[in-house]
């Protein structure tokens, strides 16, 4: 993932790099052109002066010859030689080795022709000029320095901008991240004078409000619905109980009543659990008191003793640390009894249930053959199975209780053991 500002920054840097790179040949062309023009001018002036000076002297032939030889010997940047015919002036640009430094040097030269005392002469004037690779190198270096300066500047600006300009946006993101539908507080967005962010925040607020509303309605609906179902369920239940009292019931009729009773029992339990879930969600359990985890667990085990005995299970309870928790006693009891019920229900006969309490940490493990699927584990009706009387809401209730108190519930399957652990702190 890439940050928004880094993305534009990257593009800007590519563009700056390309422009600066293109500027190198352009600068070179201009600099070289100016150089050459200047030097041509310079060469013309020098050659004109030499010509004038020579023409104004009144040399005899022998002196002239001597002077020309001497000139050629002493003057490094110009050369005089006698030619057979006069030509128009010409310029040239060459690289050659200098007599002194062994380096290749670049020269701008002008060859001009003139007559002196009936003789025809060619005068070459040369001026040392900056080599093109040196110019290019210099320009490239300067461009690079500017590019680096640009880069550093933009990075700093980018960072400052991203902190400053995007601050309201980041704050909104943080607010949304902290928002939890299960807690009932409406998120408060930071005020901003940027139109776009203000719009975003207002829309978000609307969305969240609508969300909370529909969530509340849904919770209320579940509670009301389960509530309303209680009475008709009670009527059916009572009618079945009454039906059973009929004197002339056949065996078949009794069986049908029994089957209906079983299904009704399950419907009752599902409804009761749904009501319980809705009540937990609707914060009906506000009371808090100090409860000893270990004592409560032992009481629960006591209640389930007949099941434990019936399956010939052994229960090992180990306990260490301070096990008192300040919480809602009803919900904690529901949590513990659901965890224990599951452990007992899904244990094979003659197996062993391990319960560890260390301080505010509880782990219940029981043997199993296959790991439970994590994805639907805590979902309502996530593992519903029509074969068992289980309502498919047990783990959802456990999860909801944990959510309510921000306890951490985890499931793991290790060494053929289902391990449910709750961190109560």
């Amino acid at each position: 993932m890439i940050r928004l500002l880094d993305k534009s920054f990257k593009v800007f840097m590519w563009y700056a790099g390309i422009v600066l790179a293109c500027s190198i040949p352009a600068y070179y062309a201009i600099v070289d052109y100016i150089w050459q023009t200047e030097l041509k001018e310079h060469n013309t002036i020098v050659s004109e002066e030499i010509k004038n000076n020579l023409q104004s002297q009144n040399f005899s032939d022998s002196v002239l010859n001597k002077s020309v030889a001497l000139w050629n010997q002493l003057q490094p940047s110009s050369h005089l030689r006698e030619v057979t015919e006069l030509k128009s002036d010409s310029t040239y640009n060459i690289y050659r080795k200098n007599n002194f430094s062994k380096k290749e040097e670049r020269f701008q030269g002008l060859t001009t022709y003139f007559q002196l005392k009936g003789k025809k002469f060619a005068l070459s004037v040369e001026t040392n000029m900056e080599e093109s690779h040196e110019t290019i190198l210099g320009l490239a270096l300067v461009s690079l320095i500017f590019f680096v300066l640009l880069l550093i500047g933009l990075i700093i600006l980018n960072r400052r901008l991203s902190d400053k300009i995007w601050q309201p946006f980041n704050s909104s993101i943080k607010t949304i991240q902290e928002f939890d539908l299960n807690r009932h507080d409406l998120p408060v967005f930071e005020e901003t004078d940027i139109v776009e962010f203000e719009t975003l925040n207002t829309r978000l607020e609307h969305l969240i409000k609508a969300n909370i509303n529909s969530f509340e309605q849904q919770k209320q609906f579940v509670e009301n619905a389960s509530h309303e179902l209680q009475t008709p369920l009670a009527v059916i239940q009572s009618k079945l109980d009454l039906f059973l009292q009929e004197a002339a019931l056949s065996k078949r009729q009794s069986e049908i009543i029994d089957q209906a009773q079983n299904a009704l029992g399950k419907a009752n339990r599902i409804n009761r659990n749904m009501l319980l879930l809705a009540k937990i969600e609707n914060n009906h359990f506000e009371d808090r008191e100090w409860i000893d985890l270990k004592e409560l667990l032992q009481e629960n085990l006591e209640m389930m003793n007949s099941f434990i005995e019936a399956k010939r299970l052994s229960v090992a309870l180990s306990c260490s640390g301070i096990t008192k928790i300040k919480t809602n006693s009803t919900l904690l009891e529901i949590l513990l009894s659901n965890l224990l019920t599951n452990a007992i229900r899904y244990s094979e006969e003659n197996s062993k249930i391990d319960i560890q309490i260390s301080g505010h940490y509880l782990m219940i493990s029981n043997p199993g053959t296959q790991a439970l699927k994590q994805e639907h584990l805590f979902q309502r009706f996530g593992r519903v199975n029509n074969e068992t009387p289980a309502t498919g809401l047990g783990l959802a209730i456990i999860h909801q209780v944990c959510l309510q108190f921000k306890w951490d519930i985890t499931y793991a399957f290790e060494a053929c053991q289902h391990k449910f652990s709750v961190n109560f702190s």
């Binding site: 209680q230 009794s254 009543i257 068992t388």
Partner: protein, 224 residues
């Protein structure tokens, strides 16, 4: 013994009335708040079954009025409100028991039986039933002047049957009575069978008549 059923759902009221009537109870019904107030003011009942949500008023107010008038009627709240708060509130104001809808009629009968027992001062805490002497406080059973040792569950079951004399009790109702809230972990009724088998055997061993009968396909019946 007189029972007043305050319940706005006529079908439920009728079922309760039909189930309880006969053996030992006489049932009256009130289907709304004013009717209930009138009846409770005018007459005395051994036990009042009180639904909290009534057309015309809050059922808890009836309870308030009863206690203000120093009436000794036993009160069992039957409510769709299952929350602990309502339960505690009801019991605090002076209800004797609280049963959440839906419930099994035998369960209701057992609660009524127990409330009436507790309320009757002229009675000792001993129920005499043919050759059985049941001491409720001490939780002891004496048959033919011999003490029969029962577990807590077996004693509880015995009382349950005694309070539902001549009524067929489904396995389902029994299971929910024995196991309470954890009935939903029942894979089968083995545990119920086991408890009843033990109780039957202990009663037979003590020379008690065969009152506890299995009704084929549906449940059990204390037949006298």
């Amino acid at each position: 013994m007189k029972i007043l059923i305050i319940e706005d759902e006529p079908q439920l009221a009728q079922s309760i009335s039909e189930y309880l009537s006969g053996e030992q109870y006489l049932c009256e019904t009130a289907i709304n708040f004013p009717q209930a107030m009138e009846k409770t003011e005018l007459y005395d009942y051994d036990c009042i079954l009180l639904d909290l949500m009534l057309p015309g008023g809050d059922g808890l107010k009836i309870l308030d009025a009863l206690r203000d008038n120093k009436k000794q009627d036993g009160v069992v709240i039957i409510s769709a409100k299952g929350s602990l708060d309502d339960k505690i509130k009801g019991l605090k104001i002076g209800a004797d028991d609280y049963l959440t809808k839906p419930f099994h009629l035998p369960e209701l009968a057992a609660r009524i039986f127990s409330v009436i027992r507790r309320k009757s001062f002229d009675n000792t805490n001993v129920i005499i039933h043919h050759e059985l002497e049941i001491n409720i406080l001490a939780k002891k059973l004496v048959v033919n002047r011999l003490l029969v040792s029962l577990t807590k569950k077996e004693f509880d079951l015995l009382l349950y049957f005694i309070s539902n004399k001549n009524r067929v009790i489904s396995k389902n109702a029994l299971a929910e009575h024995i196991l309470g809230d954890i009935a939903d972990m029942l894979e089968n009724y083995d545990i119920v069978y086991a408890h009843i088998k033990n109780l039957k055997k202990k009663l037979a061993d003590a020379g008690c008549g065969n009152y506890l009968k299995t009704v084929y396909g549906s449940g059990y019946k204390w037949d006298v």
